[in-house]
């Protein structure tokens, strides 16, 4: 073992249980992505044909929405830490609003697929598409509620937990984007 230049593991910032959750979520989504890519090997043309049915511009717009929402959430936390409760609330509610925008676009996405007669059982690709994005969207919805919930009191400790959750949702999406929409 090369122990030489390794820095000692130090104290994690934020709530320990949040990190347990983040790691667990990443494991689940990571496993889902790996299985999706693995299944693709059994039928590359079928997966490619399924993937072109997705609306990539909407996905790009959704990425921009979530990233901007994450920026607002981070600003909200900074405001909460400096005691600016009003500024914190505005930032968090704006972040939640963009999250709602994400969900609206996502619903539009699903509706468009449904119009084409595509559902979960249409193709293994779509099974994973709906499972992974649906699971992610459920986290977005939960995150919106959390953000609204902590905006109420604007206490740094609560805001920290909610924004960490929100950044996790963001993180999963940026990993989901290439695997599901591009590769």
């Amino acid at each position: 073992m090369t122990v030489a230049a390794r820095p000692q593991p130090d104290t994690l910032p934020g709530e320990l249980l949040m990190w347990v959750l983040i790691l667990s979520e990443l494991l689940v989504f990571g496993a889902g992505f790996a299985v999706l890519l693995g299944l693709r090997l059994t039928d590359p043309p079928g997966f490619a044909a399924a993937q072109v049915r997705l609306d990539q511009p909407v996905a790009a717009a959704n990425t921009a929405l979530l990233i901007t929402s994450g920026w607002l959430a981070a600003r909200g936390l900074a405001a909460a830490r400096s005691g600016a409760a009003a500024r914190c609330r505005i930032s968090l509610l704006a972040a939640a609003l963009l999250g709602c925008g994400f969900l609206i676009l996502k619903a539009h996405d699903y509706a468009a697929l449904a119009d084409q007669g595509i559902g979960m059982e249409s193709h293994p690709f779509f099974t994973f598409f709906f499972l992974l994005t649906g699971f992610h969207a459920a986290h977005v919805a939960a995150g919106i509620l959390l953000l609204i919930g902590v905006a109420w009191s604007a206490q740094p400790a609560g805001v920290e937990v909610a924004t960490a959750f929100w950044h996790m949702v963001d993180l999963i999406w940026v990993l989901l984007l290439p695997v599901v929409y591009l590769l």
């Binding site: 320990l16 689940v28 299985v35 099974t127 499972l131």
Partner: protein, 454 residues
């Protein structure tokens, strides 16, 4: 023992151990039926014996949990149990209900009657009146314990214990819903069965283990609570959607195969966490507690639960594997080691810890108790191996080669004979344990002295 009402636990543990004896004895009978299939076929058909084996297991484990709660809640909350009388009433309801189930099934009384007749549903086969009794008893229990905790000090251990016990009781309500569609029936059925053993019971297990570690190792409560929260978080995260691993072949949509495979693979994590927790606490602990037997059971519990529930569970949880192994002896192997490691050892650990206090003696019969641990554990582990091999052979012959079920069973005879042998060891171990608990001999242990005195 600091609080008088902790004494209630003694009655619960006594009934639990009596049922434990019934359970392993029936196990031995069933093991013999596998060797010689016509044994007692008129008096005690296999399905009835099997029902008694599993139901007595579940009831005694629950009684053990209740006893553990009545023992540890006063100590954690620093006050007496709200109402010891209600606690004894609760026990009486359980005893009457259990006896009712046994009599109803043995003599097939009131067949077809909606209230009095058997339920006919695996594990939830209690007659309706017994189910109602269970709910009433559970309500009494929750009222009693919650009142005690609410009035006293709240600790992470009691919070998690209460969360687990409340969840356990509420999920049992799904036992009353029995749709005529068999697929739906099974779907809700697992809400009770799976979400008990891989959800709420894990919370109970983690909190009792945390209590034992707190007492036996003397590690700071803060450290123990941190571990407890992490274990509980991973248990709930993986266990709830892990239910999907029961939804592979019952008519539920295909995506459950992936949800079940991915989430239930993570179910190893909390069990690994509990094993790491137990060993790290003992390693860090400064206290040299005289009750070595309780420590042995605790460490054995965490270790065997990791292997039985974690490793043996993972072995056949991926749907590609389960397609072949479903319902073979592999399942039986997993079931035996998982229940033994996680819940039997846990109960015997808290009983080993509490009994000396409850009976006002020094830890006694350490040698017998520890011998019982090794005998019983070796028996169950050997049984797990014989059943795993039997299941592997069965999977190949029956599911891959397509041979007929009974032809395959004939060829598994050797494994079943060896399994019966290991069953004998388990029963002897159980008898030894009960003896060591019930009939103390004069045996004084000096605190801090490693070897138990003879």
């Amino acid at each position: 023992m600091k609080y008088q009402s902790q004494k209630i636990a003694l009655a619960y543990f006594a009934v639990a151990l009596a049922l434990f004896a019934v359970q392993v004895t029936l196990g031995l009978v069933l093991g013999w039926i596998y060797v010689s299939p016509n044994f007692l076929s008129e008096v005690l058909p296999f399905n009835i014996g099997r029902m008694l084996h599993t139901n007595s297991l579940i009831v005694w484990l629950l009684l053990g949990f209740f006893g553990a709660a009545y023992y540890l809640v006063p100590e954690e909350s620093e006050r007496e149990i709200h109402s010891p009388k209600l606690a004894l009433l609760q026990l009486a309801i359980f005893v009457i209900g259990t006896a009712g189930v046994v009599v109803t099934y043995l003599f097939n009384l009131f067949d077809g009657n909606f209230l009095m007749g058997n339920g006919g549903r695996e594990f939830l086969e209690q007659p309706l009146w017994v189910k109602v009794g269970i709910v009433v008893a559970a309500l009494i229990f929750l009222y009693n314990i919650s009142m005690t905790v609410l009035a006293g000090k709240k600790t992470a251990i009691t919070n998690i214990l209460l969360l687990g016990l409340w969840g356990l009781a509420l999920l049992f309500l799904f036992a009353f819903y029995n749709p005529s569609n068999l697929g739906l029936d099974k779907m809700y059925w697992w809400y009770v069965v799976h979400l008990w053993v891989e959800g709420t019971w894990e919370l109970v297990m983690a909190s009792i283990l945390a209590f034992l570690m707190l007492k036996l190792t003397g590690v700071d409560r803060e450290v123990i609570e941190k571990w407890l929260y992490v274990i509980v978080a991973t248990a709930l995260f993986s266990g709830i959607l892990g239910t999907g691993h029961h939804y592979y072949w019952i008519g539920t949509p295909g995506y459950w195969q992936w949800i079940g495979s991915i989430f239930s693979s993570l179910e190893v994590v909390p069990f690994f966490g509990m094993m790491a927790f137990a060993f790290v606490m003992v390693w860090k602990g400064r206290r040299d507690h005289p009750n070595k037997a309780a420590l042995l059971w605790s460490l054995g519990c965490a270790t065997l639960a990791f292997f039985g529930a974690g490793v043996w569970g993972f072995l056949h949880t991926l749907h590609g594997v389960n397609y072949y192994t479903h319902g073979t002896q592999i399942t039986a192997a997993h079931g035996h080691l998982a229940f033994y490691g996680a819940y039997v050892c846990l109960n015997l650990a808290i009983i080993s810890y509490a009994m000396p206090h409850l009976r006002g003696r020094d830890p006694y019969n350490q040698v017998l108790n520890m011998a019982a641990f090794w005998l019983m554990s070796a028996g169950v582990v050997f049984m797990t191996f014989t059943l795993t091999f039997a299941g592997t052979v069965q999977t190949h012959l029956q599911r891959v080669n397509g041979e007929a079920y009974m032809d395959v069973q004939d060829q598994l005879w050797l494994f079943y004979a060896m399994r019966f042998g290991s069953g004998v060891a388990v029963v002897l171990g159980a008898v030894l344990f009960i003896y060591a608990m019930a009939f103390p001999r004069r045996e004084v242990i000096e605190p801090g002295y490693n070897q138990p005195a003879e």
